[in-house]
């Protein structure tokens, strides 16, 4: 009898009309938790939600129209003209025009801009430069060149932009961004995004597990653990380059010592022990997926060659600092140990203490998967000189070889960016640099509004 009831229930359940997947629903609040400042440059999540660039990066790494709808270069890429999209307004209602864009760019980079002068000409912004800027459209798609209204809001904590979300409040460690109904790209599906900032990753995962968060971070070194815990993970290809920048002043002005340091670092140990085999070992600036020639840069440790290059010179104690993050600190300590094996005395220092820094362990973001703009933006981020970039693989290889032969930048590992999401999050995609594209995300448990 019981069996018959059970079978009847099963049959009844199977006969019930099924609920199909729908188009995305509008509404709801996405709860995001992050460890670092969401406004930081580059890569801050809030920046990508609130601010737009003149261009945006397509999935193949080429520049696509955003606040600028078309552009052209003249004079061998020394002069660029970007025509602005009409009818775009900042979140406070101020119209976007060439003057506001020029003021915003001046605020952003001032004298350190890649161009010499940017000026407003009618509905266009014109960039002129002493050196050719063949990749300017791709460069302007980068996180560093997003447009915020100058002289309004707080540029560091509450900038006013044109993006799909606008700053609403920052209370008790929670940044609230609300949907921009007048967004030129269309209103986002979500009504709001709440970003709980400075939240430790362990706490983020706990909040996700009890349904207090919808999207949390998964550092590369914890990807395996996330899979073990059956978290629903969305990961980018390797886009974050772990690298050491080396000062060419002080004890390390000697290029042989820098070359010895490059040979002494044990990338395999970093990858296996600290980053749990989630990174791709690399000795090239651009990953194999982008160039195809990264195998030409050997990544093996060679201690005897390192000793040979040091030539018996024992430099004074060197200092190494690392960008924030527990894994970065551990990695810096391991590099210090590696260098000790090659006869260097290295001390891990506090990044905030003012002192001479010899080595800095940092992450550089691969902002494009087109080799030329990717290399240029990476060299800019590392503070290195930008050579004239050639378009052929042979030419790019030569440039990369030249840069790496200075031994001022040592690529170590390529790491993915990853996030874990709750069950109600739909259609989360990551952009080329691994940033979550939240304007296209919707929530599955939202009852659609009958009218806006």
């Amino acid at each position: 009898m019981l069996r018959q009831i059970a079978i009847s229930c099963l049959v009844a359940a199977l006969a019930l009309p099924a609920t199909a997947r729908t188009r995305p629903h509008y509404g709801g609040t996405l709860r995001v938790e992050v460890e670092r400042d969401p406004w930081q440059r580059p890569g801050g999540l809030a920046r990508s939600l609130v601010l737009d660039g003149l261009t945006t990066m397509s999935s193949d790494g080429t520049a696509q129209p955003a606040l600028a709808i078309e552009w052209k270069s003249e004079n061998d890429d020394h002069r660029w003209q970007f025509r602005l999209r009409p009818g775009v307004h900042f979140h406070d209602g101020t119209p976007l025009n060439s003057s506001t864009v020029v003021a915003a760019l001046t605020d952003l980079c001032g004298a350190a801009c890649p161009w010499t002068v940017a000026h407003a000409v009618g509905s266009s912004v014109v960039f002129t430069s002493d050196s050719a800027l063949p990749n300017l459209p791709e460069l302007l798609a980068g996180n560093d060149y997003r447009i915020a209204l100058a002289g309004a809001g707080n540029p560091l904590t509450a900038p006013i932009g044109t993006g799909p979300f606008q700053f609403t409040a920052f209370t008790n460690g929670v940044l609230t961004l609300s949907a921009n109904d007048n967004c030129w790209q269309g209103r986002p599906f979500l009504d709001a995004v709440e970003v709980h900032v400075h939240r430790a990753v362990r706490d983020q995962w706990l909040d996700l597990s009890v349904g207090r968060a919808d999207l949390v971070e998964v550092p590369a070194e914890q990807l395996r653990e996330a899979h073990d815990q059956h978290l629903s993970v969305v990961a980018s290809p390797p886009v974050s380059l772990l690298a050491v920048t080396i000062s060419d002043s002080g004890a390390l002005a000697n290029p042989n010592l820098r070359a010895a340091i490059a040979l002494a670092v044990d990338r395999s140990a970093l990858s296996n022990v600290i980053f749990q085999k989630q990174g791709e070992i690399t000795a090239s600036l651009l990953p194999a997926e982008v160039t195809g020639y990264s195998f030409l840069f050997p990544a093996d440790r060679d201690l005897s060659k390192a000793h040979e290059l040091r030539g018996g010179v024992t430099p004074p104690t060197l200092t190494i600092i690392a960008e924030s993050g527990a894994a970065m600190q551990l990695a810096a300590q391991r590099i210090a140990l590696n260098l000790r094996d090659a006869g260097f005395n290295v001390q891990v220092a506090n990044a905030s203490a003012p002192q001479h820094i010899d080595l800095t362990l940092r992450r550089l973001t691969l902002e494009s998967n087109q080799p030329q703009p990717a290399l240029e933006s990476m060299l800019r981020a590392a503070g290195l000189a930008i050579p004239v970039l050639e378009r052929t693989p042979e030419g790019l290889y030569k440039i990369e070889r030249q840069v790496l032969d200075t031994h001022m930048l040592i690529p170590l590992l390529y790491l993915p960016r990853a996030y874990a999401i709750g069950g109600r999050v739909r259609d989360l995609h990551l952009s080329v640099d691994g940033t979550p594209q939240l304007a296209d995300v919707s929530l599955s448990d939202i009852q659609p509004e009958a009218a806006p």
Partner: protein, 424 residues
């Protein structure tokens, strides 16, 4: 076993073996032909660096080239090097040529590291990547697709007229004209929306009764177009909150009605352009209170007919005889479906997009004899995400827009495909 039948079997086996060998030979030859140019280019560069000499050649495959094609590549390379004075040798040679068959997201890259004593020099050639073809599965009723156009801009709807293809993009109407290479863009006109667009914009387009022009609805706007004798088009858009057509503007035979000689009055529905769904208010009334929905298809049967709709809550419903009935078996349906008058089976099927979030969406035909959807074809993979789906002017084919965003290294593309059915 009879001697004759045994002989027949042996002969058949021999023929099969010969065919297989022939096919294998053909396949190897095809592979070799593909690599002729890059092998020659690389050999030329190597010869320019090394000059006439003996060298050990070591090939490493870092690419997706199948392992069985490597011997053919080696053969080609050795032949080309020999023709340029470089003789392949064993380990006794002081010269070594390390050839790495590599690749990146866009292309293949073949690199030769030419080692002469302590010096290593490089040669590189790049080879265009080859896209692989996929075949649709075959079953009882087979869906087949044909690409109409591919564009970089999102396509919301499209209509083939006598001489043109009219495409609705979010902010523009684009007219394509026939050319030797297929449809070629002829002109584009701004729609001129004053209100901001929604994130998930949609549109519908129907032919005018004379079959020459069109009438289209886009969020907050209504557009008409008529071709001029000069081959230009007279396009006009105005702000409008008028209901959108769910069926062609003129009385027509739809969704199987042709077989039954039933005239169908045009059906329109109010559209919430800020949230991208139909409000549930249709005109003329269907006699039942309809919920808000994403898609609706008029489905006629010999015993009457009704409106099949996909509610914004994901439920598939059939409004018939003033009643709203739930449709079972539609768990795998996405938000888009359309009627296809294939002439197979019951004559008309519903073709629905898949419910997956996958980058490779699919279409599948279903019969709907009552209020249960029964699969009538195997899924047809569309190599992307389906963003729009509608019936063609004669209902004998459907049109589908596929957004292809999945492949890194390639530009996002929107493909308009025509999908029809073969009865098996």
């Amino acid at each position: 076993m009879e001697p004759r039948s045994g002989l027949r079997r042996v002969l058949r086996f021999a023929v099969l073996l010969l065919s297989a060998a022939g096919l294998a030979g053909f396949s190897a030859n095809a592979a070799a032909t593909q690599w002729e140019k890059p092998a020659a280019a690389l050999a030329e560069q190597i010869a320019a660096i090394l000059g006439p000499a003996q060298a050990q050649i070591i090939i490493r495959n870092n690419s997706q080239i199948p392992t069985e094609e490597i011997p053919a590549i080696r053969r080609l390379l050795e032949q080309d090097l020999k023709a340029r004075g470089i003789q392949a040798s064993g380990t006794e040679s002081a010269n070594i040529i390390h050839v790495t068959l590599s690749e990146n997201l866009r292309e293949r890259l073949w690199v030769a590291e030419i080692v002469e004593g302590n010096e290593t020099r490089l040669a590189m050639v790049h080879v265009e990547a080859v896209s692989e073809q996929q075949q649709a599965p075959v079953s009882g009723l087979t869906l087949r697709k044909q690409t109409v156009i591919t564009t970089m801009q999102p396509v919301l709807a499209a209509l083939e007229t006598a001489n043109n293809l009219v495409v609705i993009e979010p902010e523009e109407i684009v007219i394509y004209a026939h050319s030797a290479d297929g449809w070629k863009e002829q002109s584009r006109v701004g729609i001129g929306q004053k209100k901001p667009l929604a994130r998930d914009p949609r549109a519908v387009i129907y032919p005018l009764p004379n079959g020459q022009g069109f009438e289209a609805s886009v969020a907050g706007m209504s557009c008409t177009g008529t071709p001029q004798p000069s081959a230009d088009w007279n396009l006009h858009c105005r702000e409008s909150d008028d209901p959108w057509f769910l069926t062609p503007p003129q009385p027509t035979q739809n969704g199987g009605a042709a077989d039954m000689n039933i005239q169908v009055a045009p059906l329109r529905a109010f559209y919430n352009s800020a949230r991208d769904f139909f409000t549930g208010v249709v005109t003329p009334s269907m006699g039942a209170d309809l919920p808000p929905f994403y898609t609706a298809v008029l489905l006629l049967r010999s015993d009457g007919g009704g409106l099949l709709l996909n509610g914004i809550d994901g439920k598939v419903l059939f409004a018939e005889g003033g009643k709203l009935k739930s449709v079972s078996g539609a768990r795998d349906w996405g938000s888009d479906f359309a009627a296809l008058r294939s002439g197979c089976g019951a004559g008309t099927q519903i073709v629905a997009s898949g419910s997956g979030e996958a980058v490779a969406d699919s279409l599948r035909a279903y019969e709907l004899p009552a209020v249960e959807a029964i699969p009538a074809s195997a899924p047809l993979t569309m190599d992307g995400t389906i963003t729009a789906l509608w019936s063609g002017a004669d209902d004998k084919s459907i049109f589908v827009v596929v957004r292809k965003t999945a492949a890194p290294g390639h530009t996002d593309q929107y493909e308009v495909d025509r999908v029809a059915a073969n009865c098996n």
